[in-house]
């Protein structure tokens, strides 16, 4: 059962880098940056090894490591990886080095922020790989600590309040999540996701906790995850946090940490509470659609690139949530919905990866602008940038169009599959979500016109060319926006059996 502990290595490698940086206080900026980049690339190297050893035909967990940890509490050190985890590990592998590179141009000591980014990376990987609540929740909460300090100490204006709100709000959600799992543990005596899911499928959880007990546990877990993703209207912490966080941090926040919540929905909430989620799904679907449409409309109102992209993230993750809730709502229904459900779920996983890469690229672009404009990122602070910074415009153009779902780039396939599934499962939701696609095009192209087109004005004049670090990060992310758009099979093949199995559970 226990293979060579490659998953432990995946989690520990960035932390080892952080420890190394922590133990060498005198380390110079240059050495810190290279060290940080090298250790953040460990995920890519190990991810390649995982990809080589991964058997896509098997829907279950692979590379499993399971050891007893705290016997008195029946806690296990249990890591495992399926297609979903693998996709998210690969996403982390791409975004984390880009996030490291984004900070190379910044003045000031590099050691501590580099260290904190590595801690964040390791914690996110732990969340994607842990199969027992105890290590999972540890990593879940640990991710907040470096994020807090990064925002608080290196953030822009309003960072203090934003960091505080971000941490308190998320911890508030997590408290409910913890309480929910405490209730589950009290009645079942296990923290193991696999075992709990089995109990959830059998209906044994309802028997042991009672109908109201299980509902309360479900609500607690739901709340914790809903805040993290975020599900509308639990999203108000996000725009200030994204507006204030330093570039590398916000890249990891939107690229990777926002996926933790969605991963929790798929790994915890849905398997453990299928009946409860089914019952709540219509209401949750309405919230998800509200997030899609209102998120896009709110983005249209923003005068700051960061806040606009923050709302765009709410909109894009809304598609993922809508897909999941539509599938959950249709479970056990009369419509022969397995094909639509498979499309929605396949689209969901694609959207997770694609949004992670695209949003990270967009925020990287904003960071590059800010670095040259004295920290300004207002839509009105620039103009005609395409004339003075053609290379940045080309990269940013790919990211903008990937974000609005242009076919040929990554965003389209996920959104097409989600809409195809959503329409098959819940046509009204698909129709109501459509204005979100239009408003997305509208705010992205309006921002594009104001910042990149028109006569050169504001901070666009005298724009210094991209540095090698910025260029490498942009090239990496751009390749990952084009490749899955042309050949989505490279990602869907990893999750295909898993998604088919999920969709297969729907038919009773």
């Amino acid at each position: 059962m226990n293979s060579w502990p490659i998953l432990t290595l995946v989690v520990l490698a960035p932390w080892a880098g952080a420890a190394l940086l922590g133990l060498r206080p005198g380390l110079g900026d240059r050495a810190s940056r290279w060290l940080g980049l090298a250790f953040s690339l460990s995920t890519a190297a190990l991810g390649a090894a995982l990809l080589a050893g991964f058997d896509p035909a098997r829907p279950g967990l692979q590379f499993v490591e399971r050891h007893a940890w705290i016997r008195s509490l029946n806690v296990h050190y249990h890591l495992g990886l399926d297609g979903l985890s693998l996709v998210l590990v690969l996403l982390t592998a791409a975004v984390a080095p880009a996030a490291q590179l984004s900070g190379w141009g910044r003045a000031g000591p590099a050691r501590v922020p580099t260290l904190l980014l590595l801690l964040l990376q390791g914690a996110a990987l732990g969340v994607f790989l842990a199969q027992d609540f105890f290590p999972w929740f540890t990593c879940w909460e640990l991710s907040l600590v470096p994020a807090y300090f990064l925002i608080r100490l290196w953030g822009g204006p309003g960072a203090a309040r934003a960091a505080y709100q971000f941490v308190i709000y998320t911890i508030g959600g997590s408290a409910f999540l913890l309480a929910g799992f405490a209730a589950l543990f009290a009645s079942t005596g296990t923290f193991d996701f696999g075992q709990l899911a089995q109990l959830g499928r059998d209906g044994a959880l309802t028997e042991q906790l009672g109908p109201w007990g299980v509902r309360a546990a479900f609500a607690g877990v739901l709340l914790g995850l809903a805040v993290k993703v975020p599900l509308w209207p639990f999203h108000t912490w996000l725009p200030p946090a994204y507006a204030a966080a330093p570039t590398g941090t916000v890249m990891l926040l939107t690229g990777v940490l926002s996926k933790m919540g969605m991963y929790g929905f798929l790994r915890l909430l849905w398997p453990l509470f299928p009946a409860q989620l089914h019952a709540a799904a219509p209401a949750l679907l309405a919230l998800a659609v509200a997030g899609i449409v209102l998120g896009a409309w709110a983005a249209l109102r923003q005068e700051d690139l960061r806040r606009m992209l923050a709302y765009s993230s709410i909109n894009h993750l809304g598609y993922c949530l809508a897909a999941l809730f539509a599938v959950a709502a249709a479970a056990g229904g009369e419509r022969p919905a397995a094909e639509a459900a498979a499309a929605a779920l396949a689209g969901l996983v694609l959207q997770l990866f694609n949004h992670g890469v695209t949003a990270a690229a967009l925020f990287l672009g904003v960071g590059i602008l800010e670095a040259r404009a004295g920290g300004r990122s207002g839509l009105g602070d620039f103009g005609g940038l395409r004339a003075t910074a053609p290379a940045l415009a080309a990269f940013a153009g790919v990211a903008f169009f990937a974000s609005l779902g242009l076919p040929g780039l990554s965003g389209f396939v996920g959104e097409f599959l989600i809409f195809r599934g959503l329409f098959g499962l819940h046509p009204a939701a698909a129709v109501l979500a459509l204005p979100g696609l239009l408003a997305t095009a509208q705010f992205l192209l309006t921002a594009w016109r104001r910042v990149f087109h028109g006569p050169v004005q504001g901070a666009a004049a005298g724009f210094s060319p991209l540095t090698a670090a910025e260029r490498s990060a942009l090239v990496l992310l751009t390749v990952l926006m084009i490749l899955p758009g042309v050949a989505p099979g490279i990602l869907t093949s990893l999750t295909h059996p898993l998604v088919t199995a999920w969709a297969g559970h729907l038919t009773p």
């Binding site: 108000t236 409309w297 594009w448 990149f452």
Partner: protein, 671 residues
Amino acid sequence: MHLPVQLTWLIPTLPAAAAAVIAVVPARRPGLGAGLALAALAGSLILAVLALGGALADPATRLTHTFTWFAVGHGAIRLGWLLDPLGTLLAVMVAAVGLLIFTFSLGYLREDPRAKQFFCFLSLFAGAMLGLLLANSLLLLFVCWELVGLASYLLIGFWFQRPAAAQAARKAFITTRIGDLGLLLGLVWLQDATGTLLLFDGGRGVLEAEALSTLAGATTVGGLAVSTAIGLLLFCGAAGKSGQVPLHVWLPDAMEGPTPVSALIHAATMVAAGVFLVARVFPLLAADLALPLAPVHALSVVAAVGAVTSLFGAAVAVAQDDIKRVLAFSTVSQLGYMMLAAGTGAWTAAIFHLLTHACFKALLFLGAGSVIHATHHEQDIRRLGGLRERLPVTGATFAVGMMALAGVPFLFSGFWSKEAILHAAHGWAVSQLPFLVALAAVALTAFYMTRLLAEVFAGAPRGHGAETAHESPAVMTIPLVVLAIASVSLGFLGTPWWPWLQRTLDPTFKAEAGGAGLMAVSIALVATGILAGWTRYGRHPRSDARAPDPLARSVPRLHGALAARLGCDELYAATLGRLNAALAAAASALDRSVWDGCVRFLARLGVYAGIVSRETDEKALNGGFNAAGDGLRASGRAYARTQTGDAHGYVWMLAAGFVLLALGALLGEAR
């Protein structure tokens, strides 16, 4: 020698690959990009001709090649290529007209430092457009459909530093996207209802009998057949792309792009993609005709929209003063004709007109480009005039294009294709209204084209640009001559006596007898239009640029309304634009006041509860609130300390915590 259907992908990929190569090669050799673009498109043209040969050799069997894009669930998303007369004929047209316009651009953009980018975008467009025409899957068609939209966006905004160009590009993309969302919804519905988006798939495609009878047999909201609803959704996309009322507003503004772009994309090819889509999915649109009790037939909507658009465009074109805007509204009107034809069932007539229109409208736009080039970017017809002697080749070819568009009888292609449309509209069983509207548009078309020709080429120059004009170089005039020849000769492919084109496109096509009376009526209307135009603008050319338009003198209010494009833009801004802005404001306000307010209220409640509980029973609540309080205090201290720059202590604590955790894990294992 015919092109094997498995190699169809080469036709769109050659220009697309050229675009990719041009994008990444450095800009040091300006000629390299243009040469590569031309060579790739020439290659596509040769392959398209070979493909057409294969399709014509046996029009009844459709050559298809299907492949799996990726697997989903128990099925897969499959894409494919299709070589049939409709697609290959148009592919040959696009590649041929494209090649001429690429050549013309060599001269037109000779001095532009960003010519490399221009050819990159043009090649991207050509690749996507060819893919659109040859796709055997509505999904692949949609992919290419959006990519031509991207190319259009990039090229309208090619001179992006001009605010008007930047604005027009954005408007074009967003307006067409409104239609495209309908198209997307139609696609997902179709996929859900039939399980495929392939057009022809050995009996299982969406255009084949089995799927069509399923779709026509089911009903949905409002008693519509599912096929009607899906058909209308697909038509939304077609209407957006082809500038049909009410989604036409982007097309005249798209004239901000360089003139070769207007010729290729916004006259000859991309804007006709909507008509092509209607022709492509015609069996689906026509599936509800067998249901006499249906509340509305999809094709009737197509015909009605086409009729309104044809009259609207022609009327507004009468009062425009910019040479390109006149031609743009003319394009709107002509696309309306094509839709009208398709709606009345004569999709072959629509394609016939699409082909002839592509040639003569490309000719007119390139002629306009030659005028603009020669007069140092003068586009206002009031300041032109007298160019007949100064630009002899441009003038003569422009006159050919004008006569083809106006429908001057017998020699010019536009006459024959327009005649086929009028014939179909006349024979439509549902209503004669579209026919009468189309007749009115015929007279108006002849009128505004005569006006344009007279204002630009007759009389004396009325501006500095026109006075100093010289004929454009051969690289620009040769494409004009070639297109002029095509604008004459193409018409003979579809005359009533030898309707080769219609029979090739649709083997079941039957030429109907009669129509001499109809022809006489339309010739009389053309003559009236030309005569009215000539008496007002040709016989007494305006004396100087500031002299008012004769129509503005005789019917000032009507002229003013038409010149203002009947206020569509203002109407949209006042209604939809405001609604959208209000919703955006509401969404933003909801966040700031309601949800953020809730959060702040909860936070205060928490603090208050903490104080109350501490005062009443400190020990009982030791765990929760004290911990929260401690946390608050700790973070308060952290604030204080971080402000002195001392964050290292915390990082050290974090590191220590991680070490402890790791130790715990190891110890737990050892036990």
